[in-house]
């Protein structure tokens, strides 16, 4: 247990705990864009910055990955912090004009993004999609490519990925709506990654059940036999009513 001063008040924290957790626990509002509780902190958007003082020197650090230590003094909304956040949002606004999440935050911090030339990007390169695909799903279908202003999130060779399981986790974590899932005919398309994953069809009625690669992935992970998840929810309900089956029961009934 360590003690630090947060916006003038002494609070307790676990040694090494990220300041972001400590601050949020105390009800502080700290904006983030590249942070997600299910993923390792990344430190790319720099919005979560706070000002810390330690051994009589003050500096700006990202709270998502700065470890709490005894005797630290932290300000979550000092003028220096607010100025920096405002400028970060101004730059993001220039990069991604029209993105709702950015505009909302920019308004809070008073940036109007008129000083710099506008691009037409949707992606803020927060990396949430790449990281969820790698850390949580474990498939790594997409990655960063290039460097600097050429940095982008793509599939290898910008072709349809044969690793993607069409689960849609990337779209779920994307804060700007740059990624979308589209059901097209008998496939699920992941935009803008040029990837289409074929849908598995119900053994009874032929309706789409889910992406075949995703179903195979789930079967493999949970060690389920081939017959599981071969039937769509509607048909299963028709046969077995609204009862929820246990896995072993489902296996027995081959559904």
């Amino acid at each position: 247990m360590v003690h630090l001063t947060l916006d003038g008040k002494t609070v307790g924290a676990e040694a090494g705990e990220p300041l972001l957790e400590v601050a949020r626990r105390q009800g502080k509002e700290i904006p983030t864009l590249c942070h997600h509780p299910a993923l390792e902190p990344y430190g790319a958007c720099r919005l979560c910055i706070v000002e810390v003082e330690r051994r009589s020197s003050r500096k700006i650090v990202t709270s998502c990955n700065f470890p709490a230590e005894d005797g630290l003094t932290v300000w979550t909304d000092s003028p220096r912090v607010m100025n920096n956040r405002r400028l970060i949002l101004e730059l993001l606004l220039a990069r991604c004009p029209g993105v709702e999440a950015i505009e909302r935050l920019a308004k809070v911090y008073g940036s109007d993004g008129s000083r710099f030339r506008k691009s037409a990007e949707k992606c803020i390169l927060c990396g949430l999609c790449v990281r969820v695909c790698e850390e949580v799903i474990g498939v790594s279908a997409i990655s960063f490519a290039g460097r600097g202003v050429d940095r982008r999130v793509v599939t290898p060779f910008e072709q349809s990925s044969s690793e993607c399981i069409g689960c849609g986790a990337c779209a779920a974590v994307c804060p700007t709506g740059a990624i979308s899932i589209e059901e097209v005919a008998l496939a699920r398309r992941v935009n803008p990654f040029a990837t289409e994953v074929e849908m598995a069809r119900c053994a009874r009625c032929g309706a789409p059940v889910g992406p075949s690669r995703q179903i195979a992935f789930i079967r493999k992970k949970l060690n389920l036999p081939e017959e599981i998840l071969g039937v769509c929810a509607a048909c299963r309900r028709k046969e077995y009513g609204k009862k929820l089956l246990s896995v072993s029961e489902a296996v027995r009934r081959k559904t």
């Binding site: 279908a141 997409i142 290039g146 460097r147 060779f157 690793e163």
Partner: protein, 175 residues
């Protein structure tokens, strides 16, 4: 080792030389590029399979570092140094002159496939700039004019060869 990926000549030897260790990925890619002139897609797929790393990670590394190219290069690689010392001595004018003469952009290849002109951010021969390297040979104290005449020499030499790269005898006659 994924045997299903078709093998690109020489890649397996390179992988073996580096012990199939993922940490040697940069060196592996450099050796493949030295052998093939660029990084073919099939080679990267083979490497990913052999090392047991996701293809996206290999692609990430291949696109991050400047020395790698996913596209084939021209017969002669011309590199213009744009380090500070070379810049102060007129390095970017050398580049502009060369690109204007060859009709391409930086990083591009001429239509006849003879020249690729790239830039590098400092080769460490700073006292002798501006510097132009052609096929590994350093040329110092360059100017736009000198760079163009150098490149013209290569063109002329290339014209002295038949379509199949055989010496047309011009060299023999001269010596």
């Amino acid at each position: 080792m994924n045997g299903a990926k078709s093998a690109v000549a020489g890649v397996r030897e390179i992988l073996a030389r580096h012990g199939y260790e993922p940490r040697h990925l940069v060196a592996i890619l450099q050796d493949v590029q030295a052998a093939r002139g660029y990084l073919p897609q099939m080679a990267l797929e083979q490497i990913a399979g052999a090392l047991g790393v996701p293809l996206s990670s290999v692609y990430r590394v291949a696109t991050f570092y400047r020395s790698f190219s996913l596209k084939p290069k021209g017969r002669h690689r011309v590199t213009v140094c744009l380090g500070t010392a070379c810049h102060v001595r007129g390095g970017s004018q050398v580049l502009d002159a060369l690109l204007a003469h060859l009709g391409i952009e930086a990083g591009g290849t001429t239509a006849d496939g003879l020249f690729t002109v790239e830039t590098v951010n400092c080769l460490g021969a700073c006292a002798l700039g501006p510097l132009v390297v052609i096929d590994g040979e350093y040329h110092t104290n360059m100017s736009g004019e000198r760079a163009i005449s150098l490149v013209q020499k290569f063109s002329q030499r290339a014209q002295g060869r038949s379509r199949y790269g055989e010496d047309t005898g011009e060299r023999r006659r001269r010596s």
